[in-house]
């Protein structure tokens, strides 16, 4: 059942992270394999984002244990080399970025640039291709501030393509998006995973989607690894109880037969008594 070691792209061994005296991650041990779609789930404040950022060496505070990226300890990586391998896709927040989508995407070519960062024709080609692939060509000349959240998130995905990374780290890519944009973004990511063989690690609150799309799911609670396994393993009352402390209503997905969570109706006592 063991995969060959060279297929492990991200590996944590008893990894801990303390920020300002609070232990954010405790004794995390896990492996992520090349080409997998992995979701990280868990309640707010469980340390999901900290774990995701650790894979991109975006660590603050003290750490112990080991974290290997493609077989090399995170300490030994040079960030300009790592940038060719790992792309971080942030939330489509409203952070003010005063650049056009095209100029913003050109910045993702940074790891390939020579000193003084002259833009070469192949940089422009990479940006044009990524915009075409993500359907963002139409707003190439619009400033990022003027785009909607959904459009901006697509530009962020395009940036990961431009960066040429084979591992994408996504931090709640669909939060704040309307339903249509959610479907758009998630299908872009799934396509990258299937057609380009991109390893996807995504923090998400959407358990149903995580279960449907992922090869593996990692569940954290209060900085500890509670569950690491298949979607079928996650979607059981016991696991969900352990992770979230709730016992949800589970129904069968009509296509995949996977258990899906449906919301429970809150008891409407007022109405009944009235």
């Amino acid at each position: 059942m063991h995969n060959p070691a060279n297929n492990v792209v991200l590996e944590a061994r008893s990894f801990c992270c303390n920020i300002g005296g609070n232990s954010i991650l405790r004794d995390i041990s896990l492996q992520i394999h090349r080409g997998q779609y992995v979701s990280i789930v868990g309640p707010n404040g469980a340390g999901k984002t900290t774990l995701l950022r650790a894979f991109d060496r975006l660590l603050s505070g003290d750490t112990s244990g080991e974290l290997d990226i493609c077989g090399l300890s995170w300490r030994d990586w040079k960030q300009s080399n790592l940038a060719k391998l790992i792309a971080m896709v942030p939330q489509a927040d409203s952070r003010a970025i005063p650049f056009t989508a095209e100029d913003f995407l050109l910045m993702s070519r940074y790891p390939y640039m020579s000193p003084f960062c002259t833009i070469r024709p192949d940089d422009r080609t990479a940006v044009r291709d990524a915009m075409a692939a993500t359907g963002t060509t139409a707003f190439a000349q619009r400033r990022l501030n003027t785009l909607s959240s959904g459009e901006r998130q697509k530009v962020y995905i395009a940036a990961a393509l431009v960066q040429g990374a084979e591992i994408w780290l996504l931090d709640e890519p669909t939060t704040f998006l309307d339903y249509h944009s959610q479907v758009d973004i998630l299908s872009l990511v799934a396509k990258a995973n299937r057609e380009l063989g991109i390893t996807v690690v995504a923090v998400t609150h959407d358990l149903n989607h995580a279960a449907l799309e992922s090869d593996r799911v990692i569940a954290l609670r209060q900085g500890e690894l509670v569950f690491c396994g298949t979607p079928e393993g996650l979607m059981t009352s016991d696991t969900l109880q352990a992770v979230y402390g709730i016992s949800p209503l589970l129904v069968e997905h009509p296509q995949t037969k996977l258990p899906m969570i449906v919301p429970r109706r809150t008891p409407k006592q007022d109405k009944e008594t009235a």
């Binding site: 060496r57 300009s80 003010a96 650049f99 790891p111 640039m113 003084f116």
Partner: protein, 344 residues
């Protein structure tokens, strides 16, 4: 294509940036001939020892104009760097305590009577002001470097303002304990001005600092673009954020320290010149840097020429004029463009 694009964003096309450069050269060439006494062109070839007009031109006007340009460049580029690095429109070396640090250095030197001239015409007051400026930048740097990713730029700005007030109190304390004439000298020094510039020696002293600072910034213009989008963004795309920030702080402290040592704290240029340029050419530092450089230098040359001419025979401290001339222009631009500086 490039033109459509700049038009849509309401920004100057590339040729206009070139035009500002030409304008800068023309202003620097013309300014020495203006002043309380107009100097005719033939003074250029006159003998400095016998022709008084030639003497004024070569020994006073030209060094002073060059110094004004260098100071404008140094302050404007430093302001641009800090605004990008802290992603805050109010962050400049002066708002983060450099002016008060330098003034404190000068005040201590004046109070202690260390007003001798040491090697190559560098006075102890200048040296002390330089140290004051560099120490305050170092303080901001240490706070930034220690805080890592946990502390927001606005917190940094607040810390800088607190440092600034702290130094300002110490200056008041020094002034309070000193005699009236020293107190006046301290006050006069804190206004800033270029009337100390009386030879090429000051110009040659400041030039290497400003030039090397600008070279550092020029080397990092694209990195500055990435920093504008956020430190995490930049880091994730392979920028060595800590090293880049160190280099930028180094460049800024060289430029600002040298300029402040000779000219005192000339306010407003560092804050507003980069904003005016940003409104004109956008946030891309590959355009913004040359623009800030030319505009900042030219702006201070114009202000200083006006300061020499407005109230003859007195010369106004140029620090009074920078805000007087620049303020309304900036406000007009701000309102006309309906631009949001929050987005830099």
């Amino acid at each position: 294509m490039a033109n459509d694009r700049t038009k849509e964003r309401g920004m100057m096309p590339n040729w206009a940036v070139g035009a500002v450069f030409v304008l800068a050269v023309l202003v620097v060439l013309a300014a020495p001939f203006w002043g309380m006494a107009s100097i005719p062109l033939r003074a250029l070839s006159g003998d400095v020892r016998t022709d008084s007009e030639a003497f004024i031109l070569w020994e006073m006007r030209i060094p002073r104009v060059l110094m004004a340009f260098l100071a404008g460049v140094g302050l404007s580029v430093s302001g641009m760097v800090f605004q990008a690095m802290f992603r805050n429109p109010l962050a400049t070396p002066f708002t983060l305590g450099v002016s008060s640090g330098a003034s404190l250095g000068a005040a201590i030197a004046i109070q202690c009577g260390w007003t001798v001239t040491i090697l190559h015409g560098v006075s102890t007051v200048s040296l002390s002001a330089f140290l004051g400026a560099v120490v305050s930048i170092l303080l901001v740097y240490i706070l930034t470097a220690r805080s890592g990713q946990g502390v927001s730029p606005s917190t940094m700005l607040l810390a800088g303002v607190a440092v600034s007030y702290f130094f300002a109190s110490l200056i008041l304390f020094v002034q309070y304990t000193t005699d009236p004439s020293s107190s006046f000298r301290i006050l006069r020094w804190a206004m800033g001005g270029l009337e100390h510039v009386v030879s090429f020696r000051e110009v040659l002293g400041v030039m290497p600092f400003v030039v090397s600072g600008c070279l550092i910034v020029w080397y990092l213009t694209f990195d500055l673009n990435l920093l504008t989008t956020g430190e995490d963004f930049a880091f994730s795309r392979g920028v060595d954020v800590a090293w880049t920030k160190f280099l930028l702080f180094l460049g800024v402290s060289l430029m600002v320290g040298a300029v402040v040592a000779v000219c005192g704290p000339i306010g407003f240029v560092g804050l507003v010149a980069p904003h005016i340029c940003r409104l004109l050419v956008g946030a891309d530092h590959r355009r913004l840097f040359p623009m800030s450089l030319c505009f900042g230098g030219t702006f201070l040359v114009v202000c200083d020429t006006a300061a020499r001419m407005i109230m003859p025979p007195a010369e106004l401290p140029v620090g009074i004029l920078t805000a007087l001339l620049g303020g309304p222009f900036f406000l007009w631009l701000l309102l006309a463009r309906k631009h949001d500086l929050e987005s830099l």
